[in-house]
């Protein structure tokens, strides 16, 4: 069946090759496809270029585990939990190259990628030093109608996009519960050559038909859909569950030191064989129930 896109985490992660440019959904502590991120680390993927608008803990874990060597995007931070220090150290040591973009430039580059346009323009960035740092992808161009110049942002087509959502059917039609229309879901899966979606729940298509206005991604763009309950943990998946503060704080503490960083990666990423083992390692049902009780969850 063409429209059966169900896959295991391992199968889905195998769509990502060493060296790929990978667009990763995430807004600081929000809704990152963490189960796939952990699987990529477990599988020892190398030299990934990560595209993110506002990336948090998944990028820090990937930096710590050495699976990435570029970041293309807006910012990397865990908001209230502070800077991503393993990412930061990687950049400062020259192990990770940054191609920094403003938010409209990320959107323009991915938007052009999705629409098969060579570029989209923005009026952002003008006056900043970012344009000059990235002449291959950002170019000040004249307005053909005689107005002020704009910045042409070259199309970016990631090899893979990875997103997490509330539910999907087996054909890969994806629904979000109303809380927000996440920017990454709005564009990453449309720009990328391959698309991996993890969801809290795979449901019958009939369930989606009850609320077609909540479907945000048609199945025909999706290559693999994986059911992973709490698949965004320790980031949030409101209104189902909140971000895990304790886990973020534990990571911040561990990341201060190379040894504790490795211990953390072993304990929470490399050793758990699957999502169930991971959830037990991070506190099991007690923790998950508490996260479900977070305001709005």
């Amino acid at each position: 069946m063409i429209q059966d896109k169900r896959a295991s985490l391992a199968e889905a992660a195998s769509l990502v090759q060493d060296g790929d440019v990978v667009a990763l959904q995430n807004m600081a502590t929000q809704l990152a496809p963490m189960a796939v991120v952990r699987e990529l680390i477990r599988q020892g993927r190398l030299n990934l270029g990560i595209v993110g608008l506002l990336a948090g803990i998944p990028v820090d874990w990937m930096a710590a585990a050495g699976v990435m060597d570029r970041f293309i995007g807006g910012a990397v931070t865990m908001e209230q939990f502070g800077l991503c220090n393993r990412y930061r150290k990687g950049v400062e040591a020259g192990a990770i190259r940054v191609e920094e973009l403003s938010e409209t430039a990320v959107n323009a580059r991915l938007g052009a990628g999705a629409r098969n346009l060579p570029f989209l323009p923005t009026r952002g960035l003008i006056g900043t030093e970012l344009i000059g740092m990235d002449p291959d992808n950002l170019r000040l161009i004249e307005d053909p109608f005689g107005g002020r110049p704009v910045v042409a942002c070259r199309a970016l087509v990631p090899d893979v996009a990875i997103v997490h959502a509330h539910r999907a059917d087996r054909a890969g039609n994806v629904q979000l519960e109303p809380t927000a229309e996440w920017p990454d879901l709005g564009i990453m899966p449309k720009a990328a050559n391959r698309v991996i979606v993890t969801v809290e729940e795979i449901v019958e298509t009939e369930v989606l038909r009850r609320r077609p206005d909540r479907t945000v991604l048609p199945g025909f763009v999706v290559d693999a859909v994986v059911e992973v309950p709490f698949g965004a943990h320790p980031t949030s998946c409101f209104p189902f569950y909140g971000y895990d503060s304790a886990m973020h704080l534990a990571w911040v503490a561990a990341a201060r030191d190379d040894v504790t960083t490795e211990q953390f990666l072993d304990r929470y990423i490399r050793e758990p064989a699957d999502q169930a083992e991971y959830l037990r390692a991070v506190g099991g049902a007690t923790t998950m129930l508490a996260l479900e009780r977070m305001e709005h969850a």
């Binding site: 807004m27 600081a28 502590t29 929000q30 608008l53 506002l54 995007g73 807006g74 910012a75 990397v76 931070t77 908001e79 209230q80 800077l83 990412y87 930061r88 950049v91 400062e92 020259g94 190259r97 940054v98 920094e100 973009l101 403003s102 938010e103 409209t104 430039a105 990320v106 959107n107 938007g111 009026r123 952002g124 960035l125 003008i126 006056g127 900043t128 030093e129 970012l130 740092m133 002020r148 110049p149 109303p178 809380t179 927000a180 229309e181 996440w182 920017p183 990454d184 879901l185 709005g186 564009i187 949030s236 409101f238 209104p239 909140g242 971000y243 503060s245 977070m294 305001e295 709005h296």
Partner: protein, 279 residues
């Protein structure tokens, strides 16, 4: 209602005796957000979020607030632990689509005109840096988070309101290591010559309020917070201060009612304190 009259109205009530520095930052910022404005906050923005909530409860009930650029006119029960998560946009009138739709409003010249910016470095001409400390983009001394929206907001005609809870010579510098948010660039007409409208308006720190001298576009002391001296501000600033004509005014202190709202209603968990004294 203009910013001036809003500020005057705020000063009407009895002044609190035990206000804290985070509270005077909040009231100073709040005075600049008035009915008819549309405000939008980014992440880790406890001071601006508290200011928007205070303005809406006092002088600017019709300040439109797009929480985290997502939730329109929300009713959070208090400032939550994140200013970029769903508890902040509780009970919204609208969830704005983020990739495409938000930028229709943000890039248009008529809406969301005022924008609060926090940055690691700010220089004498209001340029900001959140990219890196050092001299080499590809081998920085310190990698900062990155610009995201700042890299746009400085260029698209917004009025920028900087807040800096840690006024010191490392955060207020002669020249930023990297311009990741366009202020007045080299000062004077340089910004205007590039076709950029808007620009930095105000800097609210833990010590003072600063604006920009209209011709040179150089940062200028507007008022010192009660108990702070001009010398203390100068010592904490990485370049020579420009002073206003005449005596340096003292920042209007928070009123009893403002302090009550901030402490008891808006931010009973003290999230705003997290931003203070980090560096």
């Amino acid at each position: 209602m203009t910013t001036q009259t809003a500020a005057a109205a705020l000063a009407d009530g009895p002044v609190a005796e035990d206000w804290a520095v985070d509270e005077i930052m909040i009231t100073s910022l709040a005075a600049h957000f008035v009915d008819g404005d549309q405000a939008c906050n980014g992440m880790a923005s406890f001071i601006p979020v508290s200011a928007f909530m205070l303005a809406r409860m006092t002088h600017a009930p019709e300040l439109v607030w797009l929480a985290s650029a997502v939730g329109l006119d929300p009713r959070p029960d208090r400032v939550p632990a994140s200013t970029l998560e769903a508890p902040l946009w509780r009970d919204s009138v609208m969830y704005m689509e983020q990739f495409g739709d938000f930028w229709n409003y943000a890039l248009n010249g008529r809406w969301l005109q005022k924008f609060c910016v926090g940055a690691a470095q700010l220089d004498r001409y209001g340029n900001a840096n959140n990219s890196f400390i050092g001299t080499d983009y590809h081998a920085p001394k310190v990698r900062l988070p990155g610009t995201v929206g700042m890299g746009d907001m400085g260029s698209i005609g917004k009025l920028l309101y900087y807040w800096n809870p840690n006024h010191n010579p490392r955060s207020l510098v002669e020249k930023v290591d990297f311009v990741s948010c366009a202020g007045y660039l080299g000062g004077g007409s340089e910004r205007e010559d590039l076709g950029l409208t808007g620009g930095p308006q105000l800097v609210v720190t833990n010590l003072c309020v600063m604006d920009f001298e209209p011709v040179s576009k150089h940062l200028r002391l507007q008022s010192v917070h009660p108990g702070v001296t001009v010398e203390q501000v100068q010592a904490a600033t990485g370049f020579p201060l420009l002073l206003p004509d005449g005596d340096v005014p003292v920042t209007a202190a928070p009123t009893v009612e403002q302090v009550r709202l901030i402490r008891d209603v808006i931010d009973p968990d003290g999230m705003r304190k997290r931003e203070m004294g980090k560096h």
